[in-house]
Symmetry: C2
């Protein structure tokens, strides 16, 4: 089966994160994860011990891409303020590192948080697009679910910047928050041209990882070996549910 | 495992309908369905050829209850205007027949549509409660999903009549309708004391049969041998998804 990019096809694609701390651990993790046949791999480079060494990061990213073959790879440095591991880089340095990955590897996607400075986002967009890399513009809130209007605004911002995919991941405090996230996603899907990724986190929001595809999310994250955010489920279970959800759409 | 009544326990209970036209077919169907271990059985008596003969109906209901043993049984005459089979009885006659089932069998639940005349609903409530039978007050719309306020009003009406369970089943035209049903259910769950059953029908709403339990629905309908409404899934698939959904709630 040909590998799909985010937004291609009608199935909710499954992305599995890599969270190892060293190159060896990451490549072992990648082998484990590939055996479980995700659709996309995300390297969460903020977990990487060598994150401050651009050469090591680029070499490891290139190796991951090589091993992943035709499977698309996302390069992500999640900032500590949006749920990532604490690292020694400034946000500008992280942006430049993502730019280096665009320039020197065949990785298909880099993540860029919308909380970055506008000039940094524009810089990364230029480097990425010059190198045929797509940008996932992301917004995370690990504390609560902002109001529907703010969620919609985040989706819109991604498109306004000329970025390629919009991602919103927020923490629900109530099940009403879960419905708010789904409703905002549905509305943005109808309005915007770029693919969306949307989820409610934690146990309360885990159901959005299973049914979000119906409401306009193109990608869902699942655990291959280790999870990278609260509420992620094992890939095997998620795949089982997605197949049943997809089939149920044909119910008359 | 002890049989559960609607509203007991934290799991979304699974109800499987019987839709045979003759007593023999119904009892064979019951044997097939019982092997699949639903939590509750619903006899859709509007499918029964002998529906106009009270003696036959009561005898068949008693036999179903006998074979179902400790598993709770719902006796339902779904009116043609709410998605049932056309039958020769008036709505008053259908109410009296449900009353006879309360009086002469050990069946635990009878369904009563909220579209019945108020005096008929009150009559059935009296007969049912005198005979220790519970009433599921139901509202169906096979054409569309009414506004949130009307859905909430239907849940409320069931409790105002002093009935025991409130059921709302509606057809979505959009995924926003599906969210409206879930949101109205969540609100009613917080406000009312009686258990609720709620679902969006058809392929578009099928997901509510899987995740409705999170939003306050206590019972979901699945196909044992034959479905009785659009969007119902095979019991095996539904049980698989419910187990994963339930487990996912513990995600941190």
């Amino acid at each position: 089966m040909k590998a799909k990019l985010i937004g291609e096809g009608t199935q909710h694609l499954i992305c599995t994160p890599l969270t190892g701390r060293t190159r060896e651990v990451i490549l072992t993790e990648l082998a484990t994860v590939l055996a479980k046949q995700p659709d996309i791999i995300e390297w969460r480079a903020d977990f990487f011990q060598g994150i401050a060494d651009s050469g090591q990061v680029v070499a490891t990213a290139a190796k991951i891409k090589e091993f992943a073959k035709e499977l698309p790879v996302i390069f992500t440095i999640r900032s500590a303020s949006e749920g990532g591991e604490p690292i020694a880089l400034t946000s500008r340095q992280a942006i430049e590192l993502a730019g280096a990955v665009c320039k020197h590897t065949a990785i298909e996607y880099v993540d860029c948080e919308l909380s970055n400075k506008p000039e940094d986002i524009v810089y990364l967009r230029q480097v990425a697009h010059q190198n045929n890399t797509k940008i996932i513009a992301s917004f995370h809130n690990f504390d609560h679910t902002p109001q529907r209007e703010l969620l919609q605004q985040k989706f819109t911002e991604a498109e306004s910047y000329g970025l390629d995919v919009a991602k919103v991941a927020v923490m629900p405090k109530t099940l009403e928050d879960v419905l708010t996230l789904l409703s905002a996603t549905l509305e943005a899907k109808a309005r915007l041209k770029i693919p969306l990724i949307a989820m409610s986190m934690g146990g309360c929001g885990a159901v959005t990882r299973m049914i979000g595809g119906l409401f306009g999310s193109s990608l869902t994250f699942a655990v291959g070996q280790s999870g990278s955010a609260p509420g992620q489920m094992p890939i095997e279970e998620l795949r089982t549910v997605l197949a049943i959800v997809h089939k149920s759409l044909d119910g008359d």
